[in-house]
Symmetry: C3
Subunit: 388 residues, 3 copies
C-alpha cells in the first residue's frame, strides 16, 4: 500500500505510476544587522506532477514537471536501460553525479534547503542536465559518470542577436560512493565527486559564470552569496568529499566542496570553498536507511493518528558555510556567508511531514547590503511536505 | 463508474484519483455604448490537471494546476486530516471561507462566471490562499475558519528592490452555513461569511488595494469594474450573506456582500457593496443537490445519446451588480456596473456540459471608456465544460 | 500490455489513460556560408503530460499540455461524440484538417521536424485550434471539415490598448483521404487539403500575417524562412495534395502546398509554394502501418534487448523546399530555403526510439544574414523519443 499506486501488468514486465511533490513554505525573517529587508510570506517550494514506469522489464522512464512559483521547470525526463546489470545507462535530463545532498532525492533531505555550496556549485556544473550517464551499482559501492550539456532552464538564448548568443556549456561529472558498513541502524558512508565544465555562459554572456545562493531558505529571492558575473572563464574543476555515519537514531553527515575557476590567459584564476556538517537524532527511535549511495525514505514506527500514533520526530543541528570572497568582480570581493540551523521534522506518515527550521545567518559584503557592510538575520521557516 | 477511476487498495485505506477540468470558451461582443472594443474570440477558461488521494484512512491530499492562457496557476495544494470527526483540518493552499459561489466548486456553478462582487472581493481577501483552516462539518450545518497568507499568484515580488518590496498580506476568514430543510428536491440554505485582512499590497505597492472584475465573461481581459490602486489601506473587513431555495426543478439563489476598506489615519475610508440573484429551472426535471453547504454535481435523468437521451437542460436568469464608485482614486470615482444574464446549460452527461450565456452589461465611468462615459454592451458566450 | 495502462470499467463503457510525450534533442551546427551563428546545444522539443478517456461508450475526451522550453502550451483539449457512426463530432482545441504530416501524430512522423511548408502554412491556418469539426471515417476513406478560431498561443492580445487589439481570426478547413490499396505491406494513399482564413492578425497587428520556419531543426530559434509581417491581408486560401506508397519495408511519401495571400484592394496579392518528398527503408523488415488516413505506430519485429533483440532500424532521405520570395516586405523579398536530410531511426521498442538527422540546408536572403546574402549550413541532430 502506498500513497500513489503502481500499476503492473500481470507479467510484471510493465509498471506505471503517477508521481508528485508538494512543498508549501512559510517564513518569517528578523533582520539583525544590515539595511536589507527580506519579505515574510508563504510560497510553494515544489509543486510537481509526473509519471514514471518500467517497460519490457529492462527499461525505465520518467517525466516530471515542477510548477512552484507558477513557473514551469521540467525535472527528471529520461529513459534508462537496465539490461546490462550492474550497469544502468540513462539518457535525457537527470541529475548529474555530484555530492550527497544534490544526488539524494530532495524528498529525503533533512533540512528545508541544502548547504549553500551544494546549490552554488551544483547550479554551475551539476543538478539536472540533459546528457548521458552510466552507473555501476553494487549493494555497497556505486560509480556513476556522465557527459552533460545544460538544462532546460539555462539552455536557451533570450533575445540576444543570433551572432551574440553563446553555445551551451558542456562537461563531465563523476561520483563514487562506498559503504564499508551497511546494516540497519549502522552505516558508514564515504564518497567523492568531481566535475569539469567548459564553454560556459551566464545568461547570454559567453564564458561567463555566476555563483550565488540564498541563506538556506527561499521564499525571498535575495542572495546572500553572489560572485557577480565573472567574465572570461575557460574551465571549471570541482572536487568534493562526503561522509555520513548512522548509529541507531543518531547520524552525522558532512560534505566539503572545492571549485577551481580557470580563466583565459591574462585573467586571474580563483577558487571557492564550502562545507556543511549536521547531526540528526530521531527522538522516536527511527534510524535513517540508505540505498545506492543515498539516504532513503523514513518510515515512522507509528504513523500519526487519532488513536495515539505520534509519527516520527527528528531533531537537527547544522553549520553551513560558503566563501566566494576571492571573486574577481570587484564589488563582490570578500563575500562570504555562514549559517547555523536548528531543525525539527515531524514525519506524520512516510509521505507527509512538517518541517521547522530556525536559521541564524550572517554574511560579509553580501549583495543585500551596501559594499563592505555586514548582513545578519534570523529566519523561522516551516514547510508542509507531501510526495507520492 | 466514473470518467476518472478511483484506485483503492483492498483495505480501503488508500485511494488515488486523477483530476482535471477543461473549459473552452467562445464569446462574441456587441458594443452598444462607449468607444471601447472588446475582442471576439476563443480561449481556455480552465485547463487543469492534478491528483488527489486519501492515505492511512484519515488523511486526504490534493495537487492541481491550471494551464489556461498557457500560464501556470497552482490551484488546490493541501493536506487534510479527518481523524477528529466532525473536524477537518486543512493545511496548504485551499479556498479561504467566503460565500456560496466562491466556496462552491466552479464545476457546479450555474453561469460562466460568478457574480462581480464575488470575484472582486474574493481576489482581495479570499479565493485559494496558503494557510490553515478548521472545518466543523455536520449534515445540515458547517462552520469553517482559517488563517491565510497570499496565494502563489500574488505572493512574490517582481523586480522591486529588496528594500522596497512589501511582505505578504495576512488575515482570517470564516463562513457558517445552515440548511433548515435538506431533502431531495426541497432545500432551504442560508449562510454568512466574513473576513479581515491586513498588511495589504497591490503588486509591489505596500498597503495598496485594487478591486476589479470583467462583465461576467473573460475572453477579453478588459475590466468594467476597477478602483485603481488605492494607497494607504490598513485593514479590510468583509461581511456577506447568502441563501438558496430549491423546489423540485426550480431554485432561487442570491448573495450580498459588503466590504469596508479601512485606511490609515488621515486617509478617507470607503466601502463597496455588491449582490446577485438568479433563478434556475431544469426543463428536464432534475433537481439541484446540496452537500456540506454547497451545490453538488447535476446528474441528468437521461444522458444524451443517439438512442434518444436528451441530457439535462437548465434555464437561468440573473441580475448582478457591483458598485465601487466611492473609491478614493479620483479617475475611477463613480465606477459601477450591472448585468442581466440569460443562461442555458445542456448537461450531456454528469461530466460534460455545454453552456450558453447572453449577457447585457452596463457600467458608469468604467476603465474601458473615457472618464465620465457610459459603457454598454452585449456578450454572447458559450462554453464546453469537462471535469473528471 | 502497454507503457501506460488503460483503465476500463467492467462494462467497458468508461476508459481512462494517462498520456505523455518526451522529445530530448541535441544538435551541432556547422555553418558553411553566411555570417550567422546557430547555437549548439540540447533542449526539450516536447515534454507533455495529459489524460484521455472514453465515457458512456460514445464520448471521448482528451487534455494534454506541453512544457518544452519551460513554457506552457495546451495541446489537444476536446470532447468528441462518436454516437453517429461513421461521423465523429469534435469540439474544443484539436488539429484542424491539413495535410499528412500535420494531421499525423508527431509521434509517428519520420523526421525530427516536418517539411518547412507544413510548419509555415500550418501555423498560419491549421495546427491545433479551438473549433468544431465533423469527420466521416470509413476504413479506406476519410473526409473531415471544421470551423476554427485561433489557438491558445496566438489568441490573446498582449499589452495593446483595448481599442487597438484585433479580434481573433476565423476560418474553415477540410481534408479528404483515400487509400485505393490498404493491405499490410502494400498501401497507396492520396489526399487533398484546403483552408480559408480571414480576420487575420500577427501579434497585435490587425490583418497581419507572418510565415516562418527553421531549417528542419529547432534547438536554435533562428528562422531561415521569414516573410516579415505582411500588412493588409484579407484572406488566406490554401490547397495541398499528398501521397504515399508503401511496399513492404519501403515507402515513398510527399506533399505539395500552395498558399494564396489575398490582400485588400490596392495592395499586391502574393502566393507561396512548398513541398517535400522522402523515401524510407526499414532495414530490419518492418512495414509502415496506416489508419484513418494517417501513419500509425511502428512495432519492431524484435525489441532491443540484452538477449539479442535489435529493435527496428529505418533509413530515410528527404528533400524539402519552401519559397516565400514573393513577399511584399521588401527586406525579405527573394527569401527561399531548401534542405536535404539523411535520417536514421532506431526503434528500441514501440514507444522508445532514438533519431538521427543529418541536415544540409541553404537559403537565399534569409533573416539570418545581411540582405542579399546566401546562408548555408549542416546540422547533426539527435533525439530521444518516448511516448505513452
Amino acid at each position: 500500500a502506498n500513497v500513489a499506486p503502481t500499476h503492473a501488468d500481470p507479467g510484471g514486465v510493465f509498471t506505471f505510476k503517477a508521481r508528485g511533490v508538494l512543498d508549501v513554505d512559510y517564513v518569517h525573517f528578523a533582520e539583525r544587522a544590515g539595511a536589507y529587508d527580506y519579505n515574510d510570506g508563504t510560497g510553494f517550494r515544489r509543486a510537481r506532477l509526473g509519471f514514471e514506469g518500467t517497460a519490457f522489464k529492462d527499461w525505465a522512464w520518467r517525466l516530471e514537471v515542477d510548477f512552484a512559483g507558477n513557473v514551469v521547470a521540467v525535472q527528471d525526463a529520461y529513459l534508462q536501460y537496465n539490461g546490462f546489470k550492474p550497469l544502468t545507462i540513462t539518457l535525457g535530463q537527470h541529475k548529474a553525479p555530484f555530492g550527497l545532498e544534490s544526488n539524494n532525492s530532495d524528498n529525503f533531505n533533512s533540512f528545508l534547503e541544502r548547504g549553500m555550496f551544494t546549490n552554488a556549485f551544483g547550479t554551475a556544473g551539476a543538478e539536472r542536465r540533459i546528457g548521458v550517464s552510466v552507473a555501476y551499482l553494487k549493494e555497497k559501492f556505486t560509480f556513476t559518470a556522465g557527459l552533460f550539456g545544460d538544462n532546460e532552464s539555462i539552455g536557451r538564448s533570450t533575445g540576444a542577436a543570433l551572432t551574440a548568443a553563446p553555445d551551451e556549456s558542456y562537461g563531465a561529472n563523476a561520483r563514487v560512493t562506498w559503504e564499508p558498513v551497511l546494516d540497519t541502524g549502522r552505516i558508514i558512508h564515504v564518497g567523492a565527486s568531481g566535475f569539469w565544465r567548459a564553454g560556459l555562459k551566464s545568461g547570454d554572456t559567453d564564458d561567463g559564470l555566476r555563483l550565488s545562493d540564498r541563506p538556506n531558505i527561499r521564499v525571498d529571492n535575495g542572495n546572500i552569496i553572489d560572485t557577480g558575473v565573472i567574465p572570461n572563464v575557460e574551465n571549471l574543476y570541482y572536487l568534493g568529499v562526503e561522509g555520513t555515519a548512522v548509529f541507531g537514531p543518531l547520524s552525522v553527515t558532512g560534505e566539503y566542496g572545492h571549485l577551481e575557476i580557470d580563466r583565459f590567459a591574462g585573467f586571474r584564476d580563483f577558487s571557492s570553498d564550502g562545507f556543511y556538517v549536521y547531526g540528526s537524532w530521531f527522538v522516536t527511535g527511527e534510524t535513517r536507511p540508505f540505498r545506492n549511495g543515498n539516504f532513503d525514505r523514513i518510515r515512522p514506527l507509528n504513523n500519526f493518528s487519532n488513536t495515539g500514533g505520534t509519527g516520527a520526530i527528528e531533531l537537527l543541528l547544522r553549520y553551513d558555510q560558503l566563501d566566494v570572497g576571492d571573486t574577481p568582480v570587484a564589488a563582490r570581493a570578500g563575500n562570504d556567508a555562514h549559517s547555523y540551523t536548528a531543525g525539527a521534522n515531524w514525519y506524520l506518515t512516510p509521505n507527509f511531514k512538517l518541517q521547522f527550521n530556525y536559521i541564524r545567518f550572517a554574511g560579509s559584503n553580501t549583495p543585500l547590503d551596501p559594499v563592505g557592510a555586514k548582513t545578519k538575520g534570523d529566519a523561522v521557516a516551516t514547510r508542509l511536505h507531501i510526495d507520492w
